[in-house]
Symmetry: C2
DNA sequence: CGGGCCGATTAACCTATGTTGTAGCCCTAT
DNA sequence: ATAGGGCTACAACATAGGTTAATCGGCCCG
């Protein structure tokens, strides 16, 4: 996790890790990013970071902890749209709207950075590659929601559940929060049910089936995936939609020339992935 | 709806109509937009404009006709993610990805404009308000998908169906394609089923119930909504998620002063914005 | 030590929705 | 006009998943 190469030893934040999986960014871009994460707030579990119908203010970056993005029907039925993990942005677009159409609620204690939306404009003007990386992150978020739509519409309960577990595993490993198939899932079965469009009882049945078949193990909030490949196949998981591949060449080309790097050797950048 | 104040009388394209519902745009912005729609292609029904897994090229604007954005599982099960209506963009973000994670297929004969992705960069530099309007459009698209997720996860078949009909009615009226509650729905029941995560038989039953209760009428592809209010209430439709309200004041404020309308040249890269 | 609450678990039962199969309609092609 | 394809329609039956309700184990708190 520690990574202090140059004189100015910045930590690698989850957002940085995530964006780095897409574009190799320069030290200058890194320090701008870490400046965006300067203002940090801590919140306890079960706090609303954003409420459906509410007017919106700052953009936020999840640095540590979990949250859910969810929507509710007037009669209380609820759908979890997505999980907000470290490195994810909250309310990136809400500035464009008069009010939010979803809520964001913390599951654990969290650490979030927040900055005023004007800085997005500044970023687009001065750091086009960073801007592209952020746009990528936003587009990926939509792709995840679309894939979940496919799950709810066309996958069975077992498939959906398997699919979600593999997705979380993949997303968490990018930010170094999962190692050899196990991670902490700070989530009640009710929330899983709301994420997968199932009843709480049926999620329970489904998890039992997955456990009985030896595909996963659960001890408290720790989940262990014994055979990722097989679980992925049960869930018809195809990671294409996560777009984990580096930026396409044509895009890199579009930026070369626009990009003024002095310290960031596009080749040398040893990625301290692990 | 006609709006040709200056010498150059351009037609109002659907995209223009849609963006106008969000921001009042200048004539200059309008003519840049219509320049983007210069290259026009016509395609017959059942044509793939984009295929899952395919590498992506140009950004496209739907000018006339209907298409669907859909994803498929290896075994053929399919989910329609969204309907692409006139004024909608296709593959706006796909440039950022190596390959597309969904397909887009025409339902009717269509007319689409297409332009190379580099122009997006140009647009962001020279026409920040237009850029914001496009970003709004993209964000709204995500909001629609999230709302559909809520439908599939938590609404019953009847509710979902009612909800979708009201949504289409609203979206079409923005681009002047629906009048007093009726519009053309160029869609088979199979496609409706794939959009709502239902079987074709059950969609049939559900439409029958809606017809029997007098809420809608169907003659061929023409659908008439007799009582929008009641249909909306059946579907628990709350239009908040369509974000049809004009841009928030704070955003307008951010742009006033930033907006320089006289030089549309791509080099007008002066530090706009506050 | 004893309540009380929250979440997980399971059983028994129920229903919304899926499946299969058949029929009819309305195009268009020949 | 006839045949075939695509779509709608609907009946009969099957089942995945929902509902209700009861139990159990932690954990907090007095």
């Amino acid at each position: 996790m520690t990574r202090a190469p140059a004189s100015r030893a910045q930590e690698s934040t989850p957002l940085w890790l995530k964006l780095s999986s897409y574009l190799v960014l320069s030290d200058e871009e890194k320090s701008y990013l870490s400046d965006l994460e300067r203002t940090i707030v801590r919140e306890p579990p079960r706090t609303d970071l954003l409420q459906q119908g509410e007017r919106y203010r700052d953009v936020r970056i999840m640095r540590d902890g979990w949250a859910i993005r969810h929507k509710a029907l007037p009669d209380g039925r609820r759908q979890v749209v997505n999980f907000v993990l470290p490195g994810d942005l909250i309310g990136m677009y809400c500035t464009l709207f008069e009010s939010a159409d979803h809520s964001v609620t913390t599951l654990t204690a969290v650490e979030v950075a927040s900055f005023p939306p004007e800085r997005i404009g500044e970023l687009f003007r001065s750091f086009p590659r960073l801007a592209a990386a952020l746009a990528w992150s936003g587009a990926r978020e939509e792709a995840i929601v679309a894939e979940r739509l496919l799950s709810l519409g066309r996958r069975t309960a077992l498939e959906r559940t398997a699919h979600l577990i593999v997705e979380l595993l993949r997303r968490l490993s990018i930010v170094n929060m999962a190692a050899d198939g196990h991670f902490v899932l700070p989530v009640t079965q009710e929330i899983l049910a709301d994420a997968l469009g199932l009843s709480i009882v049926h999620i329970n049945r489904t998890l039992r089936r997955l456990r009985d078949s030896g595909l996963i193990e659960l001890n408290g909030q720790r989940i262990t995936v014994n055979d990722v490949r097989q679980l992925a196949s049960v869930g018809q998981f195809d990671e294409l939609y996560l777009h984990l591949i580096r930026a396409p060449r044509r895009l890199e080309r579009a930026f070369s020339g626009a990009h003024h790097h002095n310290s960031a050797r596009p080749d040398g950048e040893d990625r301290a992935k692990a």
